[in-house]
């Protein structure tokens, strides 16, 4: 019996990632990055491209060093990071909460859905100047702009997850005597979780874009403000160095989220017959 159990289970088990393969992927990535940087620098050195337009990797590195040493990077980075975190946390809290309310009340969902669609269809970036008019030149206006982008992503992905919950799981739980609260906690919420995480990742990217673009419109501090002033001076290497900083910051935040996801969604890895 146990042998059979083992072999049956073996069939279902995913072929795990093996160490040598992941090491070769890492190697290939480094080679790709180096090739890209060498081609870039080489194109400028050979006179194929104008460094005034595309800068050079060395120039970008130098700008980055200047930013750090000159003490400009950290305070501006802190402002942008604060805006991103504020808007992201608010997006998660309000997005998940509204999704739960809209899932529980079909009437409210049907009443509000055209308004939500309308608001979500607006180019929020174009509203940036208005947000600055309404919420001032400080971090609040950027957080609101970023929130207006991030909120809907979380709302829609969470609502999608809650709506397509497996009816048999609900019925089974109800037949074992589950209350509405337990149905939510034990079935609806875990079912929606993969969708929530997909939304979190996207929402973080949009919140970052919202914050930086908001700073580019008008701000007292922030990476976007620096981008704006460097672009005005045609300092291409400086702009690229700042964009690199934003990208690395968002990647770092995303990998933090991946860590949470791997813990919470361990059950959905390496299988094909689960929701997702």
């Amino acid at each position: 019996m146990t042998d059979m159990v083992r072999s049956e289970a073996g069939l279902g088990a995913a072929a795990g990632t093996n160490g040598s393969r992941s090491r070769s992927v890492l190697g290939a990535r480094i080679v790709f990055l180096l090739a890209f940087l060498v081609a870039w620098q080489g194109a400028v050195a050979l006179g194929l491209a104008n460094p005034a337009f595309i800068a050079t990797p060395v120039g970008v590195a130098r700008s980055l060093l200047h930013l750090i040493v000159g003490g400009k990077l950290l305070p501006n980075l802190a402002t942008t990071l604060l805006e991103i975190l504020l808007s992201f946390v608010a997006s998660v809290i309000f997005g998940v909460a509204s999704a739960i309310v809209l899932d529980r009340s079909e009437w409210l969902n049907r009443t509000l859905s055209p308004f939500l669609t309308a608001f979500n269809s607006m180019p929020r970036i174009a509203l940036g100047p208005l947000f600055i008019l309404w919420f001032g030149i400080g971090i609040m206006s950027k957080a609101v702009l970023a929130f207006s982008l991030g909120y809907f992503i979380i709302l829609l992905s969470t609502l999608g997850g809650l709506k397509n919950v497996d009816r048999d799981l609900l019925l089974m739980s109800r037949l074992f005597g589950a209350s509405q609260a337990r149905l939510f906690w034990h079935v609806r919420l875990p079912w929606a979780l993969p969708g929530v995480f997909a939304g979190l990742r996207l929402s973080l990217i949009y919140c970052s874009a919202g914050a930086v673009i908001g700073e580019m419109i008008a701000a007292q501090s922030g990476l976007g403000l620096l981008v704006q002033s460097y672009s005005g001076r045609f300092d291409v290497a400086g702009v690229m160095a700042l964009i690199l900083v934003v990208a690395v910051m968002v990647m770092a935040l995303t990998s933090l989220m991946d860590l949470c996801e791997r813990r919470l969604l361990a059950w959905s890895k390496g299988s094909t017959d689960v929701p997702g």
């Binding site: 019996m1 048999d168 059950w267 299988s271 689960v274």
Partner: protein
């Protein structure tokens, strides 16, 4: 061996039954009648199988007994109380295993007990006992996605029997399994049931399964008129699904049920 009873004086009633169904009518909408007057009794500790062509209303009847579908007319009493979804003496097993994909097998088996208010230590202990009994001890910490269909259904059986209820309603729980796996599951269900002393109503379209498992096979009419024939399964217990395949009497009963089913759909 068939019942001598005719429609109108049902021979499928018993004294002081666990389940008493009288004159139950169910219709969806105004025109489609699913059940048109069903009478049925099930004795305490009895295992009955409901068979019939698809669309004969056997699952609907089971859902009426479970309290999931209201009867437009007629009464259903389970131990002198009307049924209700989530009643603490009834356990319903769905056609799909309905394991929670985010819980391990062990935690899935404990889930039914958790919802029934069994304490943490006790439910873990009992979950392990029942996993052992269905031969899934070695995969207790696996997520369901790693199990085969048969193993998932065994986990579902363990979850159901671990709550130790007195009435089990089963809606074609093995219909998605291949015939070999089915036989294994039949033996496991029989062994779980024999030690539980529970009453079972088992809906299936598989005649062999009905005879292997039950004390009585009730054949339902295609037109939703309820039970039209019954077959007493006088095979000795404990039974082995595999050994029955070579049993003369089993095949006689199979032919009998087959004829009755054919007659019911004519």
């Amino acid at each position: 061996m068939t019942s001598e009873a005719t429609v109108g004086t049902p021979g499928w009633t018993v004294e002081a039954p666990d389940i008493r169904v009288r004159g139950v009518r169910v219709h969806f909408g105004t025109s489609r009648h699913v059940l048109t007057g069903v009478d049925l009794d099930v004795a305490s500790g009895e295992f009955i199988a409901l068979i019939g062509a698809s669309g004969c209303g056997k699952t609907t009847l089971l859902n009426v007994i479970a309290g999931l579908v209201p009867a437009a007319e007629g009464t259903v009493m389970i131990r002198d109380r009307p049924p209700a979804a989530g009643r603490s003496d009834i356990c319903y097993i769905l056609a799909r295993d309905a394991l929670l994909p985010w819980r391990t097998v062990l935690s899935n088996v404990a889930y039914g007990m958790e919802l029934s208010g069994v304490g943490r230590a006790e439910r873990e202990r009992r979950a392990r006992v029942y996993l052992e009994r269905v031969g899934l001890r070695d995969v207790a910490d696996f997520f369901p996605s790693r199990l085969s269909q048969g193993m998932r259904q065994r986990a579902s059986l363990a979850r159901a029997f671990a709550v130790e209820r007195s009435l089990y309603l089963m809606d074609e729980p093995f219909s998605a399994l291949d015939s070999q796996t089915k036989l294994l599951l039949h033996d496991q269900l029989l062994s779980l049931w024999e030690s539980s002393h529970a009453t079972v109503v088992f809906v299936t379209h598989d005649i062999g399964e009905a005879i292997t498992l039950s004390d009585r096979v009730l054949v339902m009419s295609r037109r939703g008129a309820g039970v039209v024939e019954q077959i007493h399964v006088d095979l000795p217990r404990p039974r082995s699904a595999e050994a029955l395949q070579a049993d003369e009497r089993y095949h006689d009963l199979y032919r009998l049920a087959w004829t009755a089913l054919r007659a019911s759909t004519a």
